[in-house]
């Protein structure tokens, strides 16, 4: 394999990783601040993609579509927080898993009821489509480079938000001691709604961004959800830094594993068998990575030890 191809694959892994981070950031924030496992996070990803596809179809503007995705997912997030989620904060994880599992069913079939069973159309805007040539002669799609840039910008923004702003201070305080910030006069239920809506908006944005190069269809959120959980568990639940490291680790492992394992197996078996065995192992790889990390560090790479 040539170094150029390898470099391109590293970029692909990085791109997958930063999009996973945008998805996982909300999940890990909500867990860190409110102690809630939200399986319906994947549904918010789907809501974002559908809202973007609908608005892009009506107006033809990709930017408006992204705004719509942010707004729709944030609104859906705020709505379920007020109606359902806030009743779950003091429940055990089991109740949270069941209730948010129920929300997945409602969101998925509700979306299918409104938009039908056929996949929707959402595409990369003209000004971002096509490849560009990078130093070293790599032909790489401009849109994927944009995704990497947006993802890194969001990561930077989130770190700034948490370390520099008033909201960030409240969030950090909430992670450490809930009673204390209530005692300090912070409206905790409003804080929770804001944090939840913020996480939802990020998931919706990820849905719209990724939806442009994938298929916008019902159920698109679940596979991403599982991988996002893998990410935050590897990084340590509640840690934004952990989510970033975990996301990039998972993105690189998944991409490079899929490319390198079949090549590796070809060294000692015939092509077809190697391809089949290699891709079988590659599909298990991120779960093996996660199990390995947890066995080594039972609360993830950056998780608070219990």
């Amino acid at each position: 394999m040539s170094p150029i191809l390898l470099a391109e694959q590293v970029l692909n892994g990085l791109q997958l990783g930063v999009m996973l981070f945008v998805m996982a950031a909300g999940l890990t924030l909500v867990f860190g601040v409110m102690g809630l496992i939200n399986l319906a996070h994947g549904s918010l990803f789907m809501v974002g993609a559908f809202a973007a596809a609908a608005v892009a179809g009506a107006t033809g503007s990709f930017l408006l579509a992204l705004v719509a995705a942010l707004a729709a997912a944030a609104a859906a997030g705020a709505l379920i927080e007020v109606l359902v989620i806030r009743r779950l904060y003091d429940r055990d994880h089991l109740d949270q898993v069941l209730a948010t599992f129920a929300l997945i069913l409602i969101f998925s079939e509700g979306t299918r009821w409104i938009f039908g069973s056929f996949p929707l159309y959402l595409n990369v805007p003209d000004y971002l489509s096509g490849p560009v040539t990078l130093p070293g002669g790599i032909q790489y799609p401009l849109y994927r480079l944009t995704l990497i840039a947006i993802g890194l910008a969001i990561a930077g923004g989130l770190f700034a938000l948490i370390s520099k702003t008033r909201l960030g201070i409240q969030i950090r305080a909430g992670e450490n001691d809930r009673e204390m910030i209530a005692a300090l006069g912070v409206d905790i239920s409003k804080l929770y709604t804001i944090v939840f809506a913020l996480g939802a908006a990020l998931a919706g944005l990820a849905g719209a961004l990724v939806g442009a190069i994938q298929s916008v269809q019902v159920g698109m959120g679940e596979p991403v959800l599982i991988v996002a959980f893998v990410v935050i568990v590897i990084g340590g639940i509640g840690s934004i830094k952990g989510a970033l490291v975990g996301a990039i680790l998972v993105g690189l492992t998944d991409t490079l594993g899929g490319v390198l394992l079949p090549e590796l197996f070809k060294l000692f078996m015939d092509n077809s068998t190697a391809s089949s065995a290699g891709s079988a192992l590659a599909s298990m790889l991120i779960y093996i990575l996660m199990a390995g990390v947890l066995i080594w560090k039972p609360t993830g790479l950056f998780g608070a030890s219990t």
Binding site: Q9, N12, Q217
Partner: protein, 382 residues
Amino acid sequence: MKLRSLALVAALSALASGAYADSDGAKVKVGMITTLSGGGASLGIDARDGFMLAVKQSGNENIEVVIEDDQRKPDIAVQVADKMIQSEKVDVMTGLIFSNLAMAVVPSAVAQGKFYLSVNAGPSALAGKGCNPNYFSVAYQNDNLHEAAGAYAKEAGYKKSFILAPNYPAGVDSLTGYKRFYQGDLAGELLTKLGQTDYASEIAQIRASGADSVFFFLPGGMGISFLKQYADSGVDIPVVGPAFSFDQGILQAVGDAALGVVNTSQWGKDLDNAANAAFVETFQAEYDRLPSLYAAQGFDTANLLLSAMDKASVTDADAFRAALKAADFPSVRGKFKFNTNNHPIQNIYVREVIKEGDVYTNKIIGTALEDHGDAYAAECKM
């Protein structure tokens, strides 16, 4: 909406025009198990609508159709099949879209003496050693469209194909089917993850491989993702694939990325015969959308069944089986007959994706394989 009552209404509301008479008045109860909810629902809905359109047009009052959803889960499909056989007492079963569901239901249904007419799935296990006189595939044998793609690639003079499919039995079969007719070398062969949504790394490998053509089989959302990302990557090696990723239902979601792509199918809406013209027109009038391959297959399946009902009573299994095997119905595909293993012998066409006004659709541009059977018929002893 109650599905069962919908089916009943469709069956009863079609009042006989008078020309029709069943040979001895025996009723036929049909159990249709298909995917109506969750992922893949659009395929089942099309097959169902095509089937019910034919039933309605026939005006035959002796056919009753019970429709149930399999949720694309094999265990649900098996359970619904048990229910249809044990308590609904159906005579004929049909409707399954996905091969893995068909493998769960068909062997035991035909072992219990039921007829099964496949509207889509045609796994190789049921075409060769596992064939059964009561099982008819009205669509194709799973390898057929891939074989046609291979034949097209050979015809087009491709020498170095890059081929990819998901790592599951139907995916592996598709690559085997392509290689059966394609004669050139392979620039690469990849098995991707089932349900994969990002193909950046595969596309990078295609770009680096120096291939002169790409063959892919990625049904459903996987194909949409692949085509969009492929178009955006700037790689301009010609792509060929089976009809599934270019079907009416999903083409609109792929958009411009699919324009000009060559794909293989045993049907196209512009296929020139009277039955097809009438089908395309009435389907649009009834459901307000263009018919898909699955709708065409459902429509043919119902007409095959109706033609057998005209000739024989379902209570006389041998006569009914012979009547099915005769395939004496006007197929929307034109020529159609059954091979020794009850799988079709038919033409497989080459289509190209075009845009008609605002709608993406396919145009037939040639014939890949004429009167094509399948590779497993010789293994079938019945």
